[in-house]
Assembly symmetry: C2
């Protein structure tokens, strides 16, 4: 890597000294792939991880499985989720599996402790271990399984790159982002399904299309609309209480669909503006991608300043509740956002 | 910050693609402050956080408090610890407090869930909340309290920068690292005591002196020896089972004293080589500092290759136990270590 590194997007300040810093890249694009903002290297392929779960769920709707199994908004939302493992999530995943006449024994995602402290405490008190259903990806897996069943395929091996369901997901990703997938560098995600490396610019374009549905076939546009609407209708299913994505989906419903992934990735779709956003923090830190995305949202959607007031303040408190520092936008991000905040890009968009 | 950024020390690889990267800086110095290795910016002040707990514990011994209260090796070790909050740690802290005729109500560190999953589970099953005694810093606080009591000072406000105990700690840090402290940028640590920003070069020198005791007064040399020996004698008290520092202290006893801190800091003292090491990962990520330090230790101490075999392999597994990637040294670190690995620096040291 002889290129200069990505700029500092986010700083962690203790007292008045920058203690830690998060470099990264951000792409904001429209459905034609025109970059409204490009900060850092937006052409290097990155693994989007769970940030593309809504795109991975599209074959569930497009195949007709969602209709055949009469899936509710909650069940569609949990198929797009990195959920907290609370009972509301676990029950939705069980319902989804049940409608496809499957159960949690079919899940290939592996087990981890629920993200939710309350759910973890409940398991511990009952002297139980976490199961695959508690995995934050269990809804996505249930959706993949339901798709396989509806298509008359064996659910066995549904998580493998060569299974028709994963092939359909790969095709959807490639189509939505208008980019060839790099099959030579398929990664395996934490939950065992493939993760394809894509440039941030392509991801931003894909998310612009997810919201605007420009250039999509009728069936794919319908799938995009229904999944995004389901997430707006049931925001707590997509993440969980007090989590960034649920706060945004709830507070900015219809205006901003957002989804985070592991290792510092966050994507967003702004349907009213016809824009998509993709963020990757080089070091993979969540506090970096959430803060960077909050800054971009605050510039593009004035209402976000209120919904994300705490995130934009970024105060850090210690174990006694004393303020010890703050998380702040780095200078490079501030400068880039200043250009984005001018009326120019809106005028440009209006003139198209 | 117009300087070029720090080099990539550690890479996180999924499949065959670098998914995330950790930039940072490393200083390896001797007791005279000569830099054996300098990678990245080793002159920029950083907060050492918990990495300097052994230095913060020196007044506990030097004041005579440790002798007056007949502190055991376990109690001295826990005073230098970022402990897991297991019963072995909680009991040692209670004993330390009891010897000074204090109890856990005096602790000003605030409460957090124990690092240890087993200890957390036990609290949850008993429907209890964590207390200050479970804070990973409670041993350090108990040591500060015991120092105050022994000196006839009020324990009230022992955590504040202007309390004589904190003044003594600041003086010790400054003396050991042969550097002026920047009182204009005192940070407040997670546990409410001051944290002073120091350059990595100065920290590495301080850790060289902690192990070699070169140039220290008799009383300070004695304090350094007793604290380091206590940590070697009771390694599980300094961190906890399966944690990096305990693994190193146990496996490399007498050869490598190590202590990590929050936000990507790790320091080490190699008494037999007369060297100190200080690492800071820019983004504050633990997987970065542990991996970088493991690499340096493996070059300087051949035995470390075996003790840290798993850490140096760096395999990452997903929730089903499948290998999905690995954590590896970045090219800049590899190159720097190659120079360190030549017999040159040993020859230079021998010729002094």
């Amino acid at each position: 890597m002889s290129k200069p590194g990505n700029p500092i997007l986010v700083e962690v300040i203790r007292g008045e000294l920058v203690e830690s810093r998060h470099a990264g890249a951000i792409a904001v694009a429209d459905a034609q792939g025109r970059l409204v903002l490009s900060l850092g290297d937006v052409e290097r392929p990155i693994y989007p991880r769970s940030a593309v779960k809504a795109l991975q769920a599209m074959p569930l709707v497009e195949s007709g499985a969602a209709d055949a199994f009469r899936l509710s908004a909650e069940e569609l939302a949990v198929a797009c989720a990195s959920h907290s493992g609370d009972s509301i999530h676990v029950e939705a995943v069980r319902r989804l599996l049940g409608k496809a006449e499957l159960d949690e024994s079919h899940l290939a995602c592996g087990a981890h402790w629920p993200v939710s402290e309350a759910a973890m405490a409940e398991l511990l008190r009952a002297r139980k271990r976490p199961q695959a259903i508690h995995n934050n990806c269990s809804g996505k897996h249930a959706g993949m399984l339901a798709t396989a069943v509806h298509l008359g395929l064996s659910p066995r091996g549904y998580e493998r790159p060569d299974h028709p369901v994963q092939r359909a997901i790969a095709q959807t990703l490639s189509d939505m982002c208008e980019t060839e997938l790099d099959w030579a560098h398929v990664g395996i995600d934490g939950c065992s399904v493939p993760t394809f490396a894509l440039p941030l610019a392509a991801l931003a374009r894909g998310f612009a299309r997810l919201g605007s549905r420009e250039g999509l076939s009728v069936s794919r546009a319908d799938a995009a609309r229904r999944l995004v609407e389901a997430c707006f209708a049931a925001p707590v299913l997509v993440a969980g209480e007090e989590r960034f994505d649920t706060i945004v989906l709830r507070g900015l419903a219809l205006s901003a669909f957002v989804k985070g992934g592991a290792e510092g990735v966050h994507c967003a779709s702004l349907p009213e503006l016809g824009l998509g956003i993709a963020v990757k923090i080089d070091d993979g830190t969540k506090r970096g991608d959430e803060r960077a995305l909050a800054e971009v949202l605050a510039v593009l959607l004035p209402k976000a300043r209120k919904v994300l007031a705490d995130q934009l303040k970024g105060e850090m408190h210690n174990w006694r509740g004393r303020k010890v520092g703050r998380i702040a936008a780095g200078a490079a991000l501030e400068e880039a956002l200043a250009t984005l905040a001018t009326p120019r890009h809106r005028a440009e968009r209006a003139a198209r």
